[in-house]
C-alpha cells in the first residue's frame, strides 16, 4: 500500500516535469521568441523547488523571531541577499543586469507595514504563499486569490492610486548607492563596494548581530556553558565566555538550520543567473520588454499604452498576480486599463502570454514536484478560521505590495541586493507589521488554549 502511494507520488512529481517540458516545446514550436517567457517558467520552477525544500518563507523571518524566538529564517534571507548582492554587482559591472531601482519614500515603509500585517495572518509571504500552494495548502490558495483581486481592485478603484503614483511616488528619487556615490559607467569594484558591501552586507551583518544578541544568544550560550562546564576538572572552576565564544555562537546561529542556509545560498545564485539569462535573452531577441514581441505578434490589446507588459527581468511575485485579478475582472466587463498601473505601466496580457505569471506558475509546480517526491504534498482544505486569516492576510498583502510597489521579493530582496536602499524601508515596515500581527495571534492562540486542561480532552474548532 505504502509502495503504491510512493509510486503514485513519484509518478505525479515526474509528470509535472514532463508536462512543463511538453508545454515548453509546444511554445517553441509556435514561435521561438516564446522561449523568453518559458525561461521565466523554468526559473520559477527552480525557485519553487528551493523555497519548498528550504522551507524558505520571508514571513517567518520576522514572525518566528517575534513569536517563538527562532532566528532560522531571518538568517536564511540575510544569507540569500548577501550572496545575491555579490552576483548583482558582477552583473551590473558587465551590463548584464536587468535591475532598476524604485522610488525611495515613506510609501515603502507604510506598504511594508501593511504587507507585514497580512503575511503573518495568511501564514506566508508572497513567495511563501506560492510554494505553499504547491504543497496543497488551501489557506495559501485563498491568500493567493485575495492577493490577486485586492491588488487589481485597489489600483483601479476611484483613481486614487493614480493620484498617489503621480502626486507622491513617481516624483521620489530613484537610485542605487553605486549611482549615488560614483555616477555611471562603473567598475566592478565600485558596484561591489557601494551596492553589495555598503547597501547589503554591512546592514545584513548588523541585523544578524542584533538577532544573535537579543534572540539567539541565550540558548546558544547555555549550550556553550554546559559544554565548557563538562570539560572542567572535578574540583570545579569558573566558566568564562570570551569574544571567541561569541563568534562561535554567532556562527552556530548561522549554521543552525543547514537546510535553510544552503537554500539561501542557492536562491541567491539562481536569482543571479536568472537576471543574467533574461538580459541575454533580451539581447538575443532584440527586445527590452516582452510587450514589443507581443505587439509584433499582433497582440496589441494585451500591452499597455506604452507598448509594454510587466516584464521585470528578475524574480518578482505580486504584479503578475494583480494582472490575473484584472484579467478575470475584465472578463466580467470591467474596464481595468483605465488606470496608470495596468493601462500605462503593465498591461493585462492573456495569462499564457504573461512572462512573470509563467514564473509564478513555475514556482507552484516546482514546489509541488519536490513536495510530492519528499512525501510532503497533502491537500489541506482550510478551516473557517484559517480561511478568514488567509483571505484577510492576502488582501492586506495585496494592498501593501501595491503601496510599496512590490512585495518581499520585488520591494525588498531584489531591491536591497541591487543596491537600492529603499528595500530596507520595506523590510523595517514588514517587521513592524509582523510584530503587530504576532501580538494579535499570541492573544488569539492563548484564547484558544484558555480552556486547556490536560486531564481531559479538549477540542477547539
Amino acid at each position: 500500500m505504502a509502495d503504491d502511494a510512493d509510486r503514485r507520488r513519484k509518478f505525479w512529481a515526474f509528470s509535472v516535469v514532463g508536462i512543463m517540458l511538453i508545454i515548453s516545446l509546444w511554445y517553441y514550436r509556435v514561435n521561438p521568441i516564446y522561449m523568453y517567457i518559458i525561461a521565466y517558467a523554468w526559473f520559477g520552477f527552480a525557485y519553487g523547488i528551493l523555497l519548498q525544500w528550504g522551507r524558505f518563507c520571508f514571513a517567518s523571518a520576522w514572525r518566528d523571531l517575534f513569536a517563538i524566538g527562532v532566528t532560522r529564517m531571518f538568517v536564511g534571507i540575510m544569507v540569500a541577499m548577501a550572496v545575491f548582492s555579490v552576483i548583482m554587482a558582477v552583473l551590473a559591472a558587465n551590463q548584464l543586469s536587468t535591475f532598476h531601482p524604485g522610488p525611495l519614500g515613506v510609501h515603502e515603509l507604510i506598504g511594508g507595514l501593511i504587507f507585514g500585517l497580512g503575511m503573518v495572518l495568511a501564514g506566508g509571504c508572497a513567495s511563501g504563499t506560492l510554494y505553499k500552494t504547491g504543497e496543497g495548502n488551501g489557506t495559501s490558495m485563498l491568500a493567493l486569490v485575495a492577493i490577486s483581486f485586492s491588488q487589481a481592485i485597489f489600483v483601479d478603484a476611484q483613481g486614487w492610486f493614480d493620484k498617489l503614483l503621480r502626486g507622491y511616488i513617481f516624483p521620489q528619487p530613484k537610485f542605487t548607492l553605486a549611482d549615488k556615490f560614483f555616477g555611471k559607467g562603473l567598475s566592478l569594484g565600485e558596484y561591489f563596494i557601494a551596492n553589495s558591501i555598503i547597501n547589503t552586507i554591512i546592514p545584513t551583518l548588523i541585523f544578524l548581530s542584533l538577532a544573535y544578541w537579543f534572540v539567539a544568544r541565550k540558548g546558544i550560550v547555555r549550550r556553550i556553558i554546559e559544554k565548557k562546564a563538562a570539560a572542567l576538572p572535578a574540583d570545579g572552576g569558573d566558566v568564562k565566555l570570551g569574544f571567541k565564544d561569541e563568534l562561535y555562537g554567532f556562527w552556530q546561529m548561522i549554521t543552525a538550520s543547514k537546510r535553510t542556509t544552503i537554500a539561501g545560498v542557492l536562491i541567491g545564485i539562481i536569482a543571479g543567473i536568472h537576471v543574467m539569462a533574461m538580459q541575454s535573452l533580451r539581447d538575443k531577441f532584440g527586445i527590452e520588454n516582452f510587450g514589443q514581441a507581443l505587439v509584433k505578434l499582433g497582440f496589441v490589446e494585451e500591452v499597455s499604452r506604452r507598448g509594454t507588459v510587466f516584464d521585470p527581468g528578475y524574480w518578482y511575485i505580486t504584479t503578475q498576480e494583480a494582472q490575473v485579478g484584472a484579467w478575470v475582472l475584465q472578463k466580467f466587463g470591467l474596464n481595468m486599463k483605465d488606470n496608470i498601473y495596468f493601462g500605462v505601466m503593465n498591461g493585462i496580457p492573456e495569462p499564457w502570454h504573461n512572462p512573470a505569471l509563467l514564473m509564478s506558475i513555475g514556482i507552484i509546480l516546482g514546489a509541488a514536484a519536490i513536495a510530492l517526491l519528499n512525501k510532503e504534498f497533502k491537500f489541506k482544505a482550510p478551516t473557517k478560521e484559517l480561511a478568514v486569516w488567509g483571505l484577510l492576510g492576502g488582501t492586506l498583502m495585496g494592498i501593501g505590495a501595491r503601496v510599496a510597489l512590490g512585495c518581499n521579493i520585488g520591494a525588498f530582496y531584489i531591491r536591497v541586493a541591487g543596491g537600492d536602499p529603499g528595500g530596507w524601508l520595506f523590510f523595517l515596515g514588514m517587521g513592524g507589521g509582523a510584530l503587530a500581527s504576532v501580538k494579535f495571534l499570541n492573544w488569539w492562540t492563548e484564547r484558544q488554549l484558555k480552556e486547556e486542561d490536560f486531564d481531559i480532552d479538549i477540542e477547539i474548532e
Binding site: 502511494a5 519548498q52 522551507r55 518563507c57 514571513a59 517567518s60 514572525r63 518566528d64 513569536a67 517563538i68 524566538g69 527562532v70 532566528t71 532560522r72 529564517m73 503573518v120 501564514g123 506566508g124 511563501g128 505553499k132 504543497e135 496543497g136 495548502n137 489557506t139 495559501s140 539567539a216 541565550k218 540558548g219 547555555r222 549550550r223 543552525a256 538550520s257 537546510r259 535553510t260 513536495a371 512525501k375 510532503e376 504534498f377 497533502k378 489541506k380 482544505a381 482550510p382 478551516t383 484559517l386 488567509g390 504576532v438 495571534l441 499570541n442 492562540t445 492563548e446 484558544q448 488554549l449 486547556e452 490536560f454 486531564d455 481531559i456 480532552d457 479538549i458 477540542e459 477547539i460
Partner: protein, 81 residues
C-alpha cells in the same frame, strides 16, 4: 486544534490542518504548560513548521526523541527540558 493526555506525563497536540505560525506557536505554548521531563507528541502537516519546531526545541533545550512522517503528516515526540 486538539490537546489530549495520552498517559501520565505524555500529551498529544494535534495541529493538523494549521498553517504557520500556528503549529509552532501552539507547540511552544503547550510546552510552556508542561513539567520538565513530560513528553509532548505534536501532529502537524505544515512542512515549514518542521524546521521552526526543531529550531524552537534546539533553542529551549527540549529534546526531540522521535520524528516520523506519514503521508504528509509529521509526528514529533518532544521531551521538555
Amino acid at each position: 486544534m486538539k490537546v489530549k493526555k495520552l498517559e501520565d506525563g505524555v500529551y498529544q497536540l494535534d495541529v493538523k490542518g494549521y498553517v504557520c505560525p500556528h503549529p509552532q506557536l501552539y507547540t511552544m505554548k503547550t510546552l510552556q504548560k508542561l513539567k520538565s521531563g513530560d513528553i509532548l507528541e505534536v501532529l502537524f502537516d505544515n512542512p515549514s513548521s518542521e524546521e521552526s519546531i526543531t529550531a524552537l526545541c534546539d533553542k529551549e533545550g527540549h529534546e526531540i526523541i522521535e520524528r516520523r512522517s506519514d503521508g504528509g503528516t509529521f509526528i514529533y515526540r518532544i521531551k521538555k527540558a
